[in-house]
Assembly symmetry: D2
């Protein structure tokens, strides 16, 4: 189920990568899309000194930001072109210091509704290929339709 062989349709992937590319914060954090499956998106971010908190670990805010984006795009994979999603709210538990070579956030849709969607958010620290769970959360999103044809 998580072997990475499942890929969203090419047009869905293109649409999501295009949207992601317009996210200034993701660029600032050095995050990139790693995998786009139907209902599941992975975002990775190399560890960098710029996103630490005062103890030298990755700041909860940086961890949450990529988790939030992973969930939002996971929800978006299930909607047709022209739909957008906005985060209504999320809750996240920080389980362990977010260290490692890079972080990997996985957003997975638990329920995709007409108006509201709910995603699970998991963030893993990856060190020498070994993943350990560093944060886990839950997110509610609302679907909005852009007024223009875009």
């Amino acid at each position: 189920m998580d072997d990475g062989s499942d890929q969203a349709a090419p047009d869905v992937q293109a649409r999501i990568r295009d949207s992601f590319g317009r996210q200034g914060l993701m660029r600032l954090l050095g995050a990139r899309m790693d995998h786009i499956a139907p209902g599941r998106v992975h975002i990775v971010r190399p560890s960098r000194p710029e996103v630490t908190q005062q103890h030298g670990y990755v700041h909860a805010g940086a961890t949450s930001a990529i988790a939030d984006s992973a969930g939002g795009y996971a929800a978006l994979t299930l909607f047709p072109e022209g739909a957008e999603v906005l985060t209504v709210e999320y809750k996240i538990n920080l389980l362990a210091p977010a260290s490692g070579d890079h972080l990997e956030a996985v957003g997975t849709v638990r329920r995709s509704g007409r108006t509201l969607s709910v995603c699970q958010l998991d963030v893993f620290g990856v060190r020498e290929g070994k993943r350990s769970l560093v944060a886990t959360g839950q997110q509610t999103l609302i679907r909005v339709t852009t007024s223009s044809g875009h």
Copy 2:
């Protein structure tokens, strides 16, 4: 109570500003400490294109990051030197697009316990001096004691 006239003791303020200065993410986001009261901390962040999401609004992750920091430092104002706090979890509702000249995050302690503290998090968009609530949340923190005297 919220007139800004209440200030934490100078040594508490110095300790908190010092810790804040070591937060790489806050520097990256351009955030700065605005006010430090006992049990309440304000952090402000000018609007900048770097922290947007795909629609040009401030990314939920950037909004959450300063809210999380404001709550953590609010809890810290009530602890003696040598204590530290870590975020256990938080939940945040994004109520409105986070636009304006700058954002102001206010963390307020609701309960300060021996082990756990709970803070309310409010984030306001400020445009020409007028504040409107753009996000509100709730955060749980755990007190840890640094082993060294540092």
Copy 3:
């Protein structure tokens, strides 16, 4: 604002008390409406052995249930007849054992939107007239319109 002198319009109060009276769980828990203001509702529940957890304190589920109802009805006070609200999600921190003569849950609207509303939930233990905060939470609700005229 919190002196209890503010009352919702009589028809709003009647509508809300009628809806509350149909909530089997509230009856089971012995809860009753105490005050209905525009955007704020108080529900009280006498302490009873039936709603304890294993240590003899009030079960978190009973505390949460009246908090959830208080928030839902607070949101409903701001809507016209025919509208209903459903809880999308809530988060609650249990701060202290919920003991005392009775519990008082206060739901307060923070944002009333066309589709979604957000409420703050506070639960107080009251012992000999003295209130202490035992739980605090945050809730998201969605407005739905009943299809019938009812």
Copy 4:
């Protein structure tokens, strides 16, 4: 993984069933322990008119109460005798009306720490043997040690 063949050790099961038996609210709601595995507990509750909200569906508070208990006992399965857990906080999304012949709440430990544990909470409506997800949540618990030998 979820075939019910995994059982916690008999003494762990006895300890947990004993604690559950002292929960007045669970008795009031008609809930019973269904399965106790290491790190995972299932609680079921037949549908009954007493726990409805105003539309005749199961009240979010009743759904949450059994979810909260399932998570708490799941965490407890991993601790030695004499340890207890208290709910620090939880967040729950109500995804669908909680109808069906009975509800089944499943609490699963995501992280079991020395002080804090984090559980996933899922509640299913079961109708004629078919399960559908009606609520999902996340919970933080704190381990406490009873002072007596009890």
